[in-house]
Symmetry: C2
Amino acid sequence: MGNQVTTRWVYSFGDGKAEGRAEMKNLLGGKGANLAEMSNLGLPVPPGFTITTEVCTYYYKNNRTYPSDLKEQVTTALAAVEKSIGAGFGDPENPLLVSVRSGARASMPGMMDTVLNLGLTDVTVEGLVRRSGDARFAYDSYRRFIQMYGNVVLGVEHHHFEDILENVKRDRDITLDTQLVAADWQAVIEGYKQVVEHELGRPFPQDVHEQLWGAVGAVFSSWMNQRAITYRRLHDIPAEWGTAVNIQAMVFGNMGEDCATGVAFTRNPSTGENAFYGEYLVNAQGEDVVAGIRTPQHLTIAGKQANKSDLPSMEEVMPEVFHQLDAVRLRLEGHYRDMQDIEFTVQQNKLYMLQTRTGKRTAAAALKISVDLAAEGVIDRKQAIQRIDPASLDQLLHPTLDPKAQRTVIARGLPASPGAASGKLVFSADEAETQAQLGESVILCRIETSPEDIHGMHAARGILTTRGGMTSHAAVVARGMGRACVAGAGDLRVDYKGQTVTVRGVTIKAGDLVTIDGSTGEVMLGAVPTIQPELSGDFATLMGWADEIRRMKVRTNAETPLDARTAVKFGAEGIGLSRTEHMFFDADRIVAVREMILAETEQGRRAALAKIEPMQRKDFVELFTIMKGLPVTIRLLDPPLHEFLPNSDAEMEEVAKAAGTDILKVRHRAGQLHESNPMLGHRGCRLGISFPEIYEMQARSIFEAAVEVFKESGETVIPEIMIPLIGTKKEFDILKAVIDKVAGEVMTSSGRKLEYLVGTMIELPRACLQAGEIAETAEFFSFGTNDLTQTTFGISRDDAGSFLPDYQRTGILEHDPFVTIDVIGVGELVKIAAERGRATRPDIKLGICGEHGGDPASVHFCETVGLDYVSCSPYRVPIARLAAAQAALSTEQTNRD
Amino acid sequence: MGNQVTTRWVYSFGDGKAEGRAEMKNLLGGKGANLAEMSNLGLPVPPGFTITTEVCTYYYKNNRTYPSDLKEQVTTALAAVEKSIGAGFGDPENPLLVSVRSGARASMPGMMDTVLNLGLTDVTVEGLVRRSGDARFAYDSYRRFIQMYGNVVLGVEHHHFEDILENVKRDRDITLDTQLVAADWQAVIEGYKQVVEHELGRPFPQDVHEQLWGAVGAVFSSWMNQRAITYRRLHDIPAEWGTAVNIQAMVFGNMGEDCATGVAFTRNPSTGENAFYGEYLVNAQGEDVVAGIRTPQHLTIAGKQANKSDLPSMEEVMPEVFHQLDAVRLRLEGHYRDMQDIEFTVQQNKLYMLQTRTGKRTAAAALKISVDLAAEGVIDRKQAIQRIDPASLDQLLHPTLDPKAQRTVIARGLPASPGAASGKLVFSADEAETQAQLGESVILCRIETSPEDIHGMHAARGILTTRGGMTSHAAVVARGMGRACVAGAGDLRVDYKGQTVTVRGVTIKAGDLVTIDGSTGEVMLGAVPTIQPELSGDFATLMGWADEIRRMKVRTNAETPLDARTAVKFGAEGIGLSRTEHMFFDADRIVAVREMILAETEQGRRAALAKIEPMQRKDFVELFTIMKGLPVTIRLLDPPLHEFLPNSDAEMEEVAKAAGTDILKVRHRAGQLHESNPMLGHRGCRLGISFPEIYEMQARSIFEAAVEVFKESGETVIPEIMIPLIGTKKEFDILKAVIDKVAGEVMTSSGRKLEYLVGTMIELPRACLQAGEIAETAEFFSFGTNDLTQTTFGISRDDAGSFLPDYQRTGILEHDPFVTIDVIGVGELVKIAAERGRATRPDIKLGICGEHGGDPASVHFCETVGLDYVSCSPYRVPIARLAAAQAALSTEQTNRD
């Protein structure tokens, strides 16, 4: 039935042409596809061929065997290489040597195996001696091959080879490899061959084809080694992709002074500057540059001068080849339209390109390169936007440790909130505040933090906890405040009473200087110097482009004037979540708040609330003034009341005194309010149902503040009042009626008509299912994905630290669902809610105010669901702006496809 | 366009015919429809007419006005009554008197207003004197009318009338109403009229039509009085239904010795015995029977003898009328096919029927009546099944307080687990066990209970807590064990140290006798005698019929041999949930369990688990043996480990000693394991992921027990192993692999092939959404609706007590969602999971094992979703069997319609 189609398993390259091209990465792997592309560009690539990733897939599906016609295709391709080079594989007189390297679709540096100098045998090495006229080079190459092949393909352990080399050196009474002469290497070769035979019971293979297939098999097998499996898991690379194998004629940078080898970046990967940047060594093989045996030299004169190096640059030493290389650099960057990371070898003054790939870079460099390339017309603005990893912007926004400084790391925790901070260690929020008021920088160390610690966290430069995860209270609040935070540093033992923290015998006392790095999780002794970030013009340019592209608005989660100002500076277009309870912890308010909680009657509560109201009004006046008419979403009281009561007897005594009662009553009330699962307890709108007077007071403060701001500045504020933790439409309706009543009263008393919205946080699975009903009266939804994730998974983020690591280790969860939204679970509920909400009220305003609002992958999800805005902590606003632009581009792309 | 259709607002009845009939309850109300039906049956009903419920709806929709043509229709109907009676409304010589009564679709006893003797005026009363020849009767009727009308229609307060009557009696120097003569009543009438005029500023209406419309308006208005609104809310009656008004010619049971009035049941409402049962009074009006001024007499000779009454029965006093009445009784029961509650009046030896309706009855009577009626061929078995309220069976299964006994109630809590129990008060689980072993009956009193108290709860007769709701630990466990429980008796102050409990000045000490009634929530001093239930043959008969009808199987939640045996006795067809952790609390096991928890290495845990394994195996051997091949679902360890550690220092010391370590380590481990929200913490399958050796041990115990039972009894057990708290397919797959591996090992070592199922509890919203994926490998789902309700609502059942009452009061939640499944929220998730699970695996076994499995409304929901079985606590198995049968019938009905 039709002709049998032969699958092409092998793609040749070299000699200014190739059967593959750059777009064929899936089939040829990154290295193979780029070698083909460079060949097609006419660049000097040593000839070779690529065995495709499909062979890898076949190999694992068919019990580690090859397709029947592979051998024939390899033979043909190898013949072409022999022809191109003018040497014969296994030819005793003029042997062709090849390298055998892996090359997967995505770069997996150092994870898989490589064999160099393949094709050397006892016979062919003599041919190499004769052809190269350099016996030492030839024998050195052979022993390198035996060692590499013996280890990688035959599985002989390294130390056997090392022992032999050591013995020969001891016999000769020398210490450096370079002192060994040809005869010495011959002795080493004898020793290597003996150890292989002893270990395996058979001699080192002298058949070059056996060598070749052994190496190919080793590369394919290395796809499933433990390192590679782990790396793939960490980088989301599917096992099904497989690796290709590249077999390429060897060229030698170590055949004399007219030979060299080097690595380079087409632009500076640290700064992004458009300057050729790289290192090389004369008379060396690639591994020597990396190994650090010799000091690499700079490529350019400029580079040499900038680094105050005495060693001559390649531009000086081999100017002609350098200019060829520089031309290749421009050619490649123009072709790939991005900064490239390249490897080259010079053999007897002839340049060979061995690799090109997109170069890794710092966040600052990425910004500059993208903006420059767009300015140069190489890419367009959309491409520039897509080139930047939004998460990398974090590097630019927080102070970082001076990379040149000395550091003594004593413990590690989770990198919970980026930035570095140094200061005196304190163990209580009050002490943090006191010391800060005295002008000290402090690091607040707690076993874990609670809302009562907010003032201290605010006063501190950094926060260190010994319990809790990336989404613990400390972590979330610190990120919101832009404070550095290392969370869950479990090795530290805190002794509050003794005012010390101990780790492996080291004890640090209150007042001692420490440094934490919230980007790495490190805890260090002393004050390590930091450097302040400077936002470049490129940053502003790229953000501007992103703002033109994105559909979703970006708001911030903020309640303090400082946070609000920071967010506006970073481009926030409103407040998506202002947590009113954070305003309750100020020293002058907490007393009244506690009085309210201790009151036994509505009347008593109202009396206490009357004291809080002017302060809340002032909060809102400040926020509204800073936000200048931008939308402000205010969430009414959410946490359970017991969070506001103190725990210690001393504090209880104080509260009792302030409230004019006795400690027994305080203790009794605390006991009454105690909850087994506060997350699922008497909180959110449930407080509003039980104590409507609290929400009344808050609504009144908001409306009166709006009136006041209008009178003072003429700015019309349209507050968005958000009721938390709604599960049923009736809850919402009862509380909306309370708010509407207060609005009416304020309108009457002020004589000013007020516009406002009343909406709800959607943060319970039931609310998602009932969204259609709730939208009948709710004017906006804001997805509270923190709590929605907790309830959908049934996982408390405060307690998840004991098992989430197991979950990530075993691959049950690819991401921490509190960091990146769980699209198939939590995401489905969000989707259901958005659809049902819109079906009832087509113009309902939809946003997200969970931590996920600042996570790029989650922002992308929000775009696909069609939310109107995302809201995140101030320091993540730029990230969200960029992520929203990328999401819009990617959705546009999907819609076009 | 066409003729104008006149709405019929008024339906006449009487004289052996009627315009309405029994099926028209929605339009005529229950009373009106049955009066029409009795008329149609040719029974002697005083003529009258019903103003429909549509008039009530019109009245409230139109600002309390009537349809324009209502008056005309009333006039016509009234004329028919006049003609039938041969008297005239307002006729001075021969006045027609009427009663005006409410009558809604559903019975709302005493909630709305009634006016009797309407049509009497200063003029017509004289006519009544002349026609009846009984001046005292006539004046007494008139003053009753003024009093009733004055209060109900005109709003004059009761005490005014009472004062006047008291004054007249004092003037006459008499104490009993019956001693007043006609002239005295005339004086009372004068006083009544004066007080009305004084209070209202206008005289008592002397126009009978004004009287009539005043009374009709009062009845309609009473539909919206506070009592009626509250009643409707409590009984789920929509306000839109409205009430009808019945206007009916008065007949008089108080016109002499040939007159009488009475109420009766067509069968005994306490026992269900097929015997005429009722009371009557000669020469009395209906209200006299109820008021208790005179001792009512029995209807029948048998009734009189059975109750050792000296007063003559109606059968003896007016045998002819009695036999007419007995004939009516048979006629009505045959017609309505159910036991009827009837009211009648005899006026001058003529019998009149005033009311018939379905009679209320005890659970025992309901059973007997249904079974008897089916045996008599009056109804079929399906109808018999549908007649019984499944929840009422609870009455039959638990001991109850002797209704004749004296009781001193000192506090009230929630009726958390039915049954009554007396015993000595103890304050700790250990003490409960100790005392019980000494043969004492004890009541265990705790602030709240925890899994550590299980042994004490088991040992106690009843459990009393001061904190927690209907689904608190105490309540759930008590219901599971069939122990009486009063939960959340918040007025009680427990002092563990002093070993006392105090309530409003009364202090009860440990060892004092108390009684609790778990069906009412009452806490009583002393030992109130109880009576043991006896299950009748009728119970078995009806259950047998139910079993033939139902589609769903009924299993039980049980782990102890006692529970399993009880459940099998009650008809359980398997175990749907065996909570293995309940087996961990036994004194001889908890030591090893704690040793396991304290172990720092897997090896250490395995050593401790090896000690537990033989005990777990024994548990399962016992269960399998009792269940004789019925399916047994075993849930692997679920609660967080800290639940197994002690709280007090003394206990910690003990644990440390037993585990060969020190208290510091125990305390440290307890601190490590502490969780903010244990419900959402390191529990369920998350333990299995972290410590697979625990699940391995449990799986091994199960499989080895299956082998052992086969060897001993030849019974093939097919265990269903259930993994709790699954949220992702990967968790399930990892743990299923652990179980399969153990199964393979046991099969190899025992040489016996084992059949088993591995499935999961679906108790997280995410699991519902991912059910399609999970079903790829899970062989059954059991819906854990307790946790699913907690996570879907974001409500901890242990903490809900502080706001759920507010939620029910304000109507946010109609039912406690932990008692009756929340169909639109939790129910939607269950439906999604069932659909997705079946789409992947059409024959997947689906069940429910949450508390809802024993709630009739929830069982009905399970039928609509098509679950294969429900599982509930042993004492609720009969309820579930009956509810499942009713659900099947109702679904059959729906499918037919």
